[in-house]
């Protein structure tokens, strides 16, 4: 479903702030994979996600989604394949537009937009049903501006929008990091539910090791712009936070030694 082939990205090339953010990242996702991505600050987790979404072009390597090479496509042309939820709840929705209008925008992701009505009557009924499944009472506030919603409500709405048109790949970028623990748990539960019900392929970046273990069928760890650990299936089910910390030290320690050896 997703192939990331040896991608590289350096920011601020040739300046004092030069940063090799992706350093030969390589990964393949099968259809239905729900992969969680962890790693320290600056490990390249979000950078990899942004590379997939096409926020900027990569320096080398290729990105293939469902057999389509999207490496050369700008962000809005990759949108047909991708559902996205951002870290900042303000980012995924248009605050000055109504709840139903936001959903209508999402329903047309990847379609040519013309001079037909931006939202139709039959859509409204459909959205009402969908919003009811969130159990947040939003079905009675369809004409409210999204700016009036709380962060958790907005994130739940964004999740619904991202999956309204079934994406080839769902990208979740630390989408619960800005929420309080209770709301975060609820949004994660909702994410699980939506992914399972629609049998989506998903890519979730998180800071929380426990979340990374509990959710999804596969876990990768990134360090210095590379995937350093890939744990699947039964092995992942047995994983504990302690295991993960230990592995993190093991692997990143090894990396460190390797670098030293190279320099020496």
């Amino acid at each position: 479903m997703l192939e990331i082939n040896n991608i590289y990205k350096t920011f601020n090339l040739g300046t004092i702030n030069e940063k090799k953010a992706l350093n030969g990242a390589d990964i393949k996702l099968e259809e239905g994979d729900f992969i969680t991505v962890i790693g320290g600050n600056g490990a390249g987790k979000s950078t990899m996600l942004n590379a997939i979404a096409g926020v900027w072009p990569i320096d080398s390597g290729s990105i293939v989604i469902d057999g389509n090479d999207v490496t050369g496509l700008p962000e809005h042309k990759r949108a047909p394949y991708l559902g996205r939820v951002f870290q900042d709840p303000m980012n995924g929705t248009a605050a000055t537009m109504e709840i139903q209008e936001n959903l209508a925008l999402a329903a047309r992701r990847g379609q040519r937009r013309g001079l037909k009505w931006g939202i139709t009557k039959s859509e409204r009924t459909h959205y009402r049903e969908l919003l009811r499944t969130l159990d947040l009472g939003l079905e009675d506030r369809m004409t409210s501006k999204v700016g009036l919603l709380s962060g958790g409500q907005r994130q739940a709405l964004t999740l619904l929008m991202a999956t309204l048109k079934k994406p080839k790949l769902l990208l979740l970028d630390e989408h619960t990091a800005a929420l309080d623990p209770k709301t975060a748990a609820k949004v994660l539960e909702l994410s699980d539910k939506i992914i399972a019900e629609n049998n989506l392929t998903a890519f979730m970046v998180t800071h929380n090791m426990r979340d990374a273990i509990v959710h999804g069928n596969r876990l990768i760890m990134m360090n210095e712009g590379r995937v350093i650990l890939d744990i699947k299936g039964a092995e992942k089910k047995k994983l504990t936070v302690e295991d993960l910390l230990q592995k993190f030290e093991e692997v990143s320690g090894e990396e460190f030694d390797n670098d030293k050896a190279l320099l020496g």
């Binding site: 979404a53 962000e75 809005h76 042309k77 949108a79 047909p80 991708l82 996205r84 951002f86 303000m90 980012n91 995924g92 929705t93 248009a94 605050a95 000055t96 537009m97 209008e101 209508a104 925008l105 999402a106 047309r108 992701r109 990847g110 379609q111 937009r113 013309g114 001079l115 037909k116 009505w117 931006g118 939202i119 929008m161």
Partner: protein, 315 residues
């Protein structure tokens, strides 16, 4: 001697009242421009300074085409097309060439000064007389002007109401609100911006075309400060609309209040001139009015939520 004062006052008030239809007519014509400013400033969140040039472009195109023998209706249609082109150029400067929004507008505006003079065959002023041509509106008949322009505004509002309810209209609204989200939803935000700027400046060019007929000439300075008048109308209209209807005002209502804001602006200007404000100070006065209206919401928020208040323990 003493009995003369009330007589003077009465005559004075009469002169103000006599000036009102003219203010209303002018306000409505500028109201079309203000609706254009509303599209960029409020919906696209883009302070577009192109309009100062576009208004003159509309005037120049209209007057020169009428002088060349084209029907006034064709002339204002051409003025609208010229306006759209100006907006598209600002949009390209901003989206393709990466020039900041305000600067893109200023660059187009400055270049339009030369272009407008070229259209007017090098003259800073070109007259078109209502006696010689069958103009759509004229300053000599304010009632006629008010009816015609009000009808035009109704049509414009209807078209915009429809357009911003379409899929393309949605992309412009989303782009103005949240570009990240728009791109994630597959919207080409550059295209959306260019369309909105084209639409906006098309209205401004059209407004310039009507204005030039109303005043009977094209003047190279006719658009100077247009953005300030546009913003004043948008803000006055918004404040008044919200004070009457609250936040419930729908899109077409908001547009209608922009036009009403423009009328009020011209009535106020007429009033302060009547009070004795020298004409040369008018632009200073306009700028101060707009500055106050822009500052009020900010200061209001600040007074509710200030350090001073915090220091006093919220008292």
């Amino acid at each position: 001697m003493y009995s003369l004062i009330p007589v003077l006052c009465v005559r004075d008030i009469m002169s103000l009242i006599r000036a009102l239809p003219g203010s209303a007519a002018q306000g409505l014509i500028w109201g079309i421009m203000a609706i254009g400013v509303f599209l960029t400033f409020k919906i696209l969140d883009f302070a577009d300074l192109t309009v100062d040039g576009t208004l003159g472009t509309g005037g120049a195109v209209t007057v020169m085409l009428i002088l060349a023998g084209y029907p006034p209706v064709v002339a204002v249609a051409a003025a609208m097309v010229a306006g759209i082109l100006a907006g598209v150029i600002t949009g390209i400067l901003h989206t393709v060439l990466g020039i900041p929004a305000i600067l893109s507008g200023i660059l187009t505006q400055i270049s339009l000064y030369s272009i407008n003079l070229n259209i007017a065959q090098g003259k800073a002023n070109q007259a078109v007389s209502v006696d010689a041509y069958n103009l759509i509106v004229s300053g000599r008949d304010n009632t006629h002007t008010i009816i015609i322009v009000a009808a035009i505004i109704v049509v414009i509002i209807a078209v915009l109401y429809w357009f911003f309810g379409t899929e393309v209209g949605f992309t412009i609204r989303a782009t103005g609100c949240n570009e990240n989200m728009s791109r994630a939803q597959g919207i080409n935000t550059s295209v959306a911006k260019v369309i909105a700027l084209g639409f906006s400046n098309g209205l401004v060019g059209f407004s310039g075309g009507i204005l030039s007929q109303y005043q009977g000439n094209f003047d190279v300075n006719m658009g100077r400060g247009a953005i300030v008048i546009g913003l004043a109308s948008v803000i006055i209209g918004e404040v008044i609309g919200e004070s009457i209807f609250g936040k419930k005002l729908n899109f077409s209502g908001r547009l209608a209040f922009v036009a009403i804001g423009s009328i009020i602006y011209y009535v106020v200007i007429q009033f302060v001139l009547w009070l004795g404000l020298p004409t040369i100070d008018m632009k200073l006065f306009s700028a101060i009015v707009v500055a106050i209206f822009l500052a009020v919401p900010y200061l209001k928020g600040k007074s509710k939520n200030s350090y001073k208040k915090a220091a006093k323990g919220g008292a």
